[in-house]
């Protein structure tokens, strides 16, 4: 079943693929960061970014699961 939460989870997991596989979006030297060309620091920047996105997905998955459990128990109690 597609819920808004699941769409967000899916997006969090798909975005790194789009960013990393679209090489044309980052194959540049400028702007450099402490002398490191854009190409390199941009990709390394994506390590914490993708970690953050995975964290969001993790929290949402947990929350959704808890909600589902609560709903199931509520249903059983009635």
């Amino acid at each position: 079943m597609i819920t808004p939460t699941r769409v967000v989870i899916g997006l969090c997991l798909v975005v790194p693929f789009v960013a990393m596989l679209w090489v044309g979006s980052y194959d540049r030297v400028d702007p450099t960061f402490i002398g490191i060309p854009f190409f390199y620091w941009y990709q390394m920047l994506w390590v914490p970014l993708s970690t953050l996105l995975t964290c969001v997905a993790y929290v949402l998955v947990r929350r959704e699961k808890a909600a589902r459990r609560a709903a199931a128990e509520g249903g059983a109690a009635r």
Binding site: D27, P37, T54
Partner: protein, 533 residues
């Protein structure tokens, strides 16, 4: 490279090597159970390892000779193209997050220990299960070979063996010794050896990484200088700091193909399945990416090698040589030990995982269903030796100057098991025979295409990239073969469905794929890889 033996570095290196060897043999006694002669004891360390040690092992798997030697070497030789390892390790985690919790659940409901077990249970096909097992064993060999190349590079720089003019036996002798030590302690101690050594290894590696990525750039005058000398070298000898427009397909397909391949390796699956719950798997995918950052910084060592003026024929030597030039001798010894042991431990873990796969899914399923536990342990031990001999064959016959190729070759093979495994986790629509045919086509195409790649140094298996049919760009053969595999699988599934060919028996149910710890029928601990007494 080979300008005499570096005495101090060698002494420090030998000290650590002897230390871990002694630990390796003593490990046999560590937390030992009364009964040690079965596969559970040898292959899974009696499974007394908690989540911590398990994830320590898995995290440790990421720091191998691949990180320390092969990736910087690729950067040293060609620049940007080698940096695909960073997007590769970024993409691994969303994939693990999506796929492996389902595998964990179904495995803990049904007691599956390998991917081959799952495929057999899901599709009711012994043929498909055998294909998955064989692929896992085959693909592990070049990956182990890469580790051996890493050890050899360190020894070469220290002035022991290697070199171009020496006799072939003298040249390969240190490699053979390192191989012998690895084989001996894995044989006698099983998974206990790498688990205990992993602590020493990780401590050494972290110290070396932190020192290297701070100290060396400062010594070389900062990244501005480093990259401008790299540009000078590439302008002269080929390569580039930023990938050219025609190299973008290769870059993206290498990253994606490698990411798909990583978590299918037998050793990666073993480690994941042994985590405590499906939650733990997801939680770890939010922590482990920090390893990728270190990988990126280590990759830049390739550029630092250029800036430091290192001229080596064999790119694999660049990082060890850089360490020798930049560090005081004693710390160079520590760094060499970190690389050497960092290659040894994953090699041991990989060979054990492959051996378990053989014993459980080939020996027991096809030859001796009634073998005694002691017999099974014996078979696993011997197989782990044979797998390493197979790896040695790769080292001795393939071109070692582009070691990253070893890992990519393994990837071409292992990723062909993905439609059966990941497809099976989400849908039962694929037909077992179609999956088998798709696998065969993918394996055949991948192997032939890789065989046909010529490099300046060898006629066959010279690289892992080839023209992608229809698209016409250069790309990773593994991914092309995977797409072909998938196409064949889909088309033949449609044909099988039209013909009404029966499916195999599926012993799993939809609920098995989402079950977690505490749900009915979920085992906290998986059964031993083979029956224990």
């Amino acid at each position: 490279m080979n300008d005499g033996v570096n005495g101090v570095a060698l002494a420090v290196f030998v000290f650590f090597f002897v230390l871990v060897t002694v630990m390796g043999f003593l490990a046999a006694r560590w937390r030992r159970a009364a009964e040690a002669d079965n596969l559970e004891e040898w292959g899974l360390g009696g499974r007394s390892f908690g989540t911590w040690i398990t994830w320590f092992l898995l995290g440790g798997d990421l720091y191998t000779a691949y990180t320390f030697v092969a990736v910087p070497a690729a950067i040293y030789a060609g620049g940007a193209a080698g940096f695909f390892a960073v997007p590769y390790t970024i993409l691994v985690y969303p994939l693990i997050f999506t796929f492996l919790p389902r595998l964990w659940s179904v495995s803990h409901r049904h007691g599956y220990v390998t991917t081959s077990d799952f495929v057999k249970g899901r599709f009711g096909s012994r043929g498909l299960s055998l294909a998955v097992a064989l692929t896992g064993i085959l693909a592990t060999m070049p990956y182990i070979a890469l580790q051996l190349v890493g050890i050899q590079a360190v020894l070469d720089v220290m002035g022991v063996g290697g070199g171009e003019s020496t006799h072939w036996f003298v040249k390969d002798l240190p490699l053979l010794i390192a191989f012998g030590v690895l084989a001996a302690y894995t044989y006698s101690s099983g998974l206990r050896a790498p688990a205990l050594i992993a602590f020493v290894k990780d401590a050494l590696i972290y110290i070396v990484i932190i020192v290297a990525i701070i100290y060396i750039p400062i010594e070389l005058g900062g990244f501005d200088d480093i990259f401008s000398s790299a540009e000078e070298k590439f302008a002269e000898k080929g390569g580039s700091v930023v990938p050219a427009a025609d190299a973008q397909w290769a870059y993206a397909t290498l990253a994606l193909g490698s990411a798909l391949a990583l978590f299918m390796y037998p050793h990666a699956i073993t480690a994941t399945l042994s985590s405590r719950s499906r939650e733990v798997i997801r939680r770890n995918t939010t922590i482990l990416p920090l390893y990728s950052l270190m990988l990126g910084l280590l990759a830049l060592l390739g550029f630092m090698g250029i800036a430091a003026g290192i001229e080596v024929e064999n790119g694999q030597l660049v990082v060890p040589q850089l360490f020798e030039d930049m560090f005081p001798a004693w710390f160079a010894g520590v760094a060499f030990a970190a690389i050497g042991i960092g290659a040894l431990v994953p090699a041991a873990i990989m060979s054990i995982a492959a051996a378990n796969l053989f014993t459980r899914n080939i020996y027991r399923d096809f030859f001796r269903p009634d073998a005694t536990p002691a017999r099974e342990a014996q078979v696993s031990k011997i197989t782990s030796l044979l797998v390493k001999v197979g790896a040695l064959v790769f080292v001795l016959t393939m071109d070692k100057t582009t070691a990253i190729n070893f890992q990519l070759l393994g990837g071409i093979w292992i990723v062909q098991t993905m439609p059966a495994l990941v497809g099976g986790l989400f849908t039962r629509w694929f037909h077992r025979w179609a999956l088998l045919a798709g696998w065969a086509v993918g394996m055949l195409y991948g192997t032939l295409a890789a065989y046909g790649v010529e490099s300046p140094t060898q006629k066959h298996f010279g690289g892992s990239n080839d023209t992608i049919p229809l698209i016409g760009e250069i790309g990773y053969i593994g991914l092309t073969a995977f797409v072909l595999n998938l196409l064949v699988t889909v088309v033949l599934t449609l044909v099988m469905r039209a013909l009404g060919t029966p499916d195999g028996v599926d012993e799993t149910t939809a609920g098995d794929y989402t079950a977690d710890v505490g749900d009915a029928g979920v085992r906290e601990e998986l059964p031993p890889a083979t029956k224990a007494p």
